[in-house]
């Protein structure tokens, strides 16, 4: 009996040994030590109307959201060492109180240079990556970057913004007393490289979402009575076609800023909105060299407009009233203006002043006042 027991247990022991060594092999990834690598996933709390996975943030397979990665990205976002002279961080021009936009028409770089476009806000950016699936033009007003990893280093290097050399940024972070350990925690290595800075900043940007406005309450409850009477009238105008021949007044806003089933306030596409007859900034054309893209800019989300003035890619409209007046006027006409704008030229929408105020009232229901104070996105201690 004893003998049999031995014979059975010896092979089992070897098999076990073999099996456990295989498992161990698959867990070791190159030279990265697991010691301090914290892969705990970062969990985003979504409202019920976004419970479908198709409406949730999708991260690249090689850069999943983790607590440590998002936290590192947040610290880097507020880190002045990312600029050449250590005076500006991303947050200098992307200020949380203004939904991570700037109140200036054009932001000022570290050497006093002004940009040529209005600093766009930061929220729900991950949807720009997943909703338009077949494009390489997603970030910046003119679609320079395909994803947030690529986007993240552009302002750092821009001569009129943070004007830094990436290798010097890497050196500064590498010789910092804290950063190497934070990279180790986030990515399993304390050897800092550009691509890890990109990954961390992208993770933080993907983590920034804003879905806690009155409009979101409506989307969750489908109770139209959350709106005031003016907001209700504005809602109807927003989602209505303007059909002068049938005497139907509408804002025609929804074509570009979200169909009724869309939650994002944008179609994620690029349009020439007729802001200038001869665009002084060629927009998407600069990137594609395609004649049809002249003066096209990315549709901004209409969420959080209460905080993001001034408006338009060039920050030329100081108030929402100015924006509505512009579209109401029929805009300008050129070969590049989007048909949903140019069809109103030259007569315009002919909205009454009350209708314009109603539209503004509704649009402002998309502003999320908890977002601009949310501590998870604010400067870390």
């Amino acid at each position: 009996m004893k003998n049999i027991n031995f014979k059975i247990s010896l092979p089992s022991f070897f098999i076990l040994l073999l099996f456990s060594s295989c498992v161990k092999d698959t867990k070791i990834e190159s030279n990265i030590s697991n010691n301090e690598w914290d892969k705990t996933p970062y969990i985003i709390q979504y409202p019920t109307f976004l419970s479908d996975s198709s409406n949730q943030v999708i991260s690249p397979i090689d850069n999943p959201l983790t607590n440590a990665g998002v936290e590192l990205g947040r610290k880097l976002f507020y880190e002045p060492m990312l600029s050449a002279n250590n005076t500006q961080s991303c947050a200098t021009c992307h200020i949380q109180a203004y939904a991570f936009s700037d109140t200036a028409q054009f932001s000022t770089g570290i050497y006093g240079d002004k940009g040529t476009r209005n600093a766009p806000p930061i929220y729900n950016l991950a949807y720009q990556e997943s909703k338009p699936a077949d494009t390489i033009h997603r970030f910046f007003w003119d679609g320079t970057s395909i994803n947030l990893e690529r986007q993240s280093i552009v302002p750092i290097q821009s001569k009129i913004e943070m004007a830094a050399e990436l290798k010097l940024v890497v050196n500064k972070l590498q010789s910092h007393p804290v950063y190497p350990s934070l990279f180790k925690k986030a990515f399993g290595t304390d050897s800092i490289h550009t691509y890890l800075i990109q990954k961390a900043l992208a993770q933080f940007e993907r983590s920034v979402i804003s879905f806690n406005s009155k409009f979101d309450e409506f989307l969750s409850t489908r109770n139209f009575n959350v709106f005031t009477d003016a907001e209700k009238r504005g809602y109807v105008l927003f989602y209505s076609e303007n059909k002068p021949s049938e005497l139907i007044k509408g804002g025609d806003c929804f074509h570009c800023h979200g169909q009724e089933k869309s939650f994002f306030g944008t179609d994620f596409q690029f349009h020439n909105n007729g802001l200038q007859k001869q665009p002084t900034d060629s927009g998407l054309f600069r990137i594609t060299n395609n004649y049809n893209d002249i003066g096209k800019f990315k549709t901004p989300s209409l969420r959080n407009l209460a905080f993001t003035a001034p408006y338009m890619h060039n920050g030329s409209k100081k108030t929402l009233k100015e924006v509505i007046d512009f579209y109401d006027s029929g805009a300008t006409l050129s070969p590049w203006v989007d048909p949903n704008i140019s069809k109103h030229f030259p007569l315009g929408l002919q909205l009454t002043e009350e209708q314009k105020q109603d539209l503004i009232s509704f649009i402002l229901t998309m502003s999320d006042s908890s977002f601009v104070k949310k501590t998870a996105y604010s400067k870390p201690n």
Binding site: I15, L18, F19, C22, D25, I136, I153
Partner: protein
């Protein structure tokens, strides 16, 4: 009884051993067809081996040096150089037995080094009989705008346009006589990648234990001269945008022409 147990044990051992990796036992092939080939054109690797690519930068027949050395182009411009940088990627060899291109290389950046010579070695080139090599000068559109920016693709190494999120494929800078004004031509953009194919059939080199080398000449005179004369006094002498028409009209055809084979030899 003991034998049965042990044979059972061994078979379990084999079955259970790391199924994931699809392990195929590589027994040495007693008959390697490639080893029997004696008459061939191109390069023969009976077993997987390594190939070194040696890029040498010439102006006509003179090795390129930086700073004070003047060169006269066929367009009669007298110039000197301060920088010559380029990216080599997607190295492929054509296997004439299998009638297919084999990917052997990755993304390499030559920047800030020797003005004359740039080399890199590709290990583990598969066994085969190859009669053609091709590579990109530049970064293909897929990697130009997406994918990890690691290794030689790290933007911190330069040769990168932050404003388009794209790589610079080829960069040449220097001064133009007699006024010593600078010129700086940066070629980037997904549509401006040069794909060069080089015939190897004038050589017959069998891989040796130290691998073999392919010498490739960049004749910078051709960049300014052949087939299109490029006049630095009238053509754009500062190019920092992929859509400058002269890139397609003149410089890309010239870049194809500036590349030629020096030699193939066993190391």
């Amino acid at each position: 009884m003991k034998k049965i147990f042990y044979s059972l044990f061994t078979s379990i051992l084999i079955i259970s051993s790391c199924g994931k990796e699809n392990q195929i036992v590589n027994e040495p092939d007693p008959f390697n067809q490639l080893d029997t080939i004696t008459v061939f054109k191109g390069i023969l690797l009976p077993q997987a081996g390594k190939i070194t690519l040696n890029f040498e930068n010439y102006f006509k027949t003179s090795p390129v040096v930086y700073a004070n050395q003047n060169y006269i182009t066929n367009a009669n411009d007298t110039i000197s150089f301060s920088d010559l940088s380029y990216r080599i990627s997607n190295v492929q060899l054509y296997d004439q037995l299998k009638l297919k291109w084999v990917d052997i290389g990755t993304y390499k950046l030559n920047s800030g080094g020797d003005a004359f010579k740039y080399s890199f070695t590709i290990n583990n080139v598969p066994a085969g009989l190859y009669n053609n090599i091709r590579f990109n000068i530049g970064v293909d559109s897929l990697r130009n705008h997406s994918g990890d920016q690691t290794g030689d693709l790290d933007p911190a190494l330069g040769m990168y346009w932050s404003w388009t999120n794209g790589y610079i494929h080829f960069r040449i800078e220097g001064r133009l006589q007699p006024s010593l004004t600078t010129f700086s031509i940066h070629i980037g953009g997904s549509e401006n990648v040069v794909n060069k194919s080089i015939d190897l059939t004038n050589y017959a080199v069998k891989n040796a234990s130290n691998g073999l080398s392919i010498g490739i000449k960049f004749n910078i005179n051709q960049f300014f001269s052949s087939p299109n004369l490029y006049y630095l006094k009238t053509d754009p002498k500062d190019i920092h945008d992929q859509f400058v028409p002269e890139i397609k009209l003149k410089l890309l055809p010239n870049m194809l022409n500036m590349v030629s084979l020096i030699d193939v030899k066993a190391n």
